[in-house]
């Protein structure tokens, strides 16, 4: 087993504060989803993804010790993050939007579009 360093500080209070923050954010996410479920999808996505990102960052920074320890971990995480963004951004306009706009299914209209057709 590798030897561990002796940590100079006890971070228990920080962890409990982060826990409270995560709890509050989870409740906020739930309420936001309930309140905004019938309003614009963009608003829903922005709010919920934002709240989820804050929660994920809190878990990463404090529970996974990214804030307490060295920056070498970002050397691994940066290329990963880059690939994540590139992969999804690359496929979204093509398989996502274009499939809906130009795919064989465009002839089958939804009830919402029927009023607009001649």
């Amino acid at each position: 087993m590798e030897p561990n360093p002796i940590p100079p500080h006890d971070h228990t209070r920080t962890y409990l504060r982060v826990f409270i923050a995560l709890l509050v954010l989870t409740v906020l996410e739930y309420l936001y989803a309930r309140l905004f479920s019938d309003r614009g999808f963009t608003m829903l996505v922005t709010g919920l993804v934002g709240l989820a990102a804050i929660k994920a960052i809190l878990v990463g920074l404090f529970f996974m010790h990214l804030v307490f320890e060295g920056r070498w971990k970002y050397l691994i995480l940066m290329p990963t993050a880059f690939l994540v963004i590139v992969l999804v951004s690359g496929l979204y306009p093509d398989m996502g939007l274009d499939a809906k706009r130009f795919g064989p299914d465009r002839a089958a209209l939804s009830t919402n579009d029927l009023d607009a057709t001649p």
């Binding site: 962890y15 739930y30 529970f63 979204y92 996502g96 939007l97 089958a108 209209l109 939804s110 009830t111």
Partner: protein, 314 residues
């Protein structure tokens, strides 16, 4: 940072070896685990990214309130459906009345009436039905019902029970439960960093129990979705929400299933280190497996935070 921490802990001049011991260690185990977590990020990106792309490409008619997912709606625009919102005091009579009208066993209708609101009859050009007659009979029997026109969507909407069977309330509680297990895990690590072996074992056990509760609730949810409930026609052609019910269903089960498998693997690893901790296998100087399994556990929690948002709430 290492230098300032060292100065606080030991105000007297310290020899080089002590400074080295208090600096964050770039151990092979930690590097390996972070590399593994990098691959896990790519794994879940494949799943969540595919979900985003598939959803973006889903046609506007893919899901409707009155027909099974994927039904072409060209000739069905004038369809109307009868939705039951509440059965009133006499469930059995309501079920019998509906069963007679739709020519289905009453037991199946009763099963369906456990998940309200639900569509019980559809009048369409392809399959005409006496929807107004049934509405009158059900209202006379005390049920709350309404007639709805055809409404279609590119993806099931959250909270819309006519197309989306997922229980957001239960899963929100489950999300909180998994976050609690992350807290107990970090407290376990904190304990062994103070050489408190007893608290390490206790917090590890708490993590295992809470994590198992999360998996248990997921298994319960899967059972209710696939077998326990009978959902409205807009959810699935059979009433049971299974991987082959729709694209939404297969995405849901793939993503949450793989996540559940990761949580289960984490629980097995936690069990191993908990058992070792009971025999004093870890100390302040040597506890890297605790830290490494902890990192994996927090990652699994982080993925769930994103999954819950993307799959359940959006």
């Amino acid at each position: 940072m290492a230098q300032s921490i060292d100065a606080e802990a030991t105000p007297n001049p310290t020899p080089p070896t002590a400074i080295h011991r208090t600096a964050p260690l770039l151990t092979p185990g930690k590097v390996a685990l972070w590399l593994f977590l990098g691959t896990e990020v790519m794994f879940f990106t494949g799943l969540i990214g595919s979900y985003i792309v598939l959803r973006a490409g889903s046609p506007a008619w893919a899901y409707s309130n009155l027909f099974p997912p994927g039904t072409p709606l060209d000739d069905l625009r004038n369809a109307r459906g009868l939705v039951i919102d509440a059965t009133g005091p006499d469930d059995a009579r309501i079920a019998e009345t509906i069963a007679e009208a739709v020519d289905s066993p009453a037991a199946e209708i009763e099963h369906q009436l456990h998940s309200l609101p639900t569509v019980v009859l559809v009048n369409s050009p392809l399959q005409p039905a006496d929807i107004d007659g049934l509405t009158t009979r059900l209202q006379a029997a005390g049920a709350m019902n309404r007639l709805v026109p055809l409404d279609s969507f590119d993806w099931p909407r959250p909270y819309d029970k006519l197309t989306n069977p997922l229980s957001i309330d239960l899963t929100a509680v489950n999300t909180f439960i998994l976050i609690c297990s992350s807290v107990t895990m970090v407290l376990a690590l904190s304990a062994i960093q103070r050489d408190d072996k007893r608290r390490l074992s206790r917090w590890l056990l708490a993590t295992i129990l809470i994590g198992s509760t999360f998996v248990g609730i997921q298994v319960y949810e899967y059972y209710q979705l696939m077998e326990g409930h009978r959902y409205s026609i807009g959810v699935s052609p059979t009433g049971h929400f299974r991987p082959n019910s729709s694209l939404f269903a297969s995405c849901f089960f793939t993503m949450t299933g793989f996540h559940g498998a990761h949580v289960t693997g984490g629980i097995l690893a936690l069990l191993a280190i908990w058992l070792r901790s009971l025999f004093g296998g870890y100390s302040r100087e040597h506890h890297s497996p605790v830290e490494l399994v902890g990192l994996y556990w927090h990652f699994v929690d982080l993925v769930w935070i994103l999954l819950f948002t993307v799959v359940y709430l959006l």
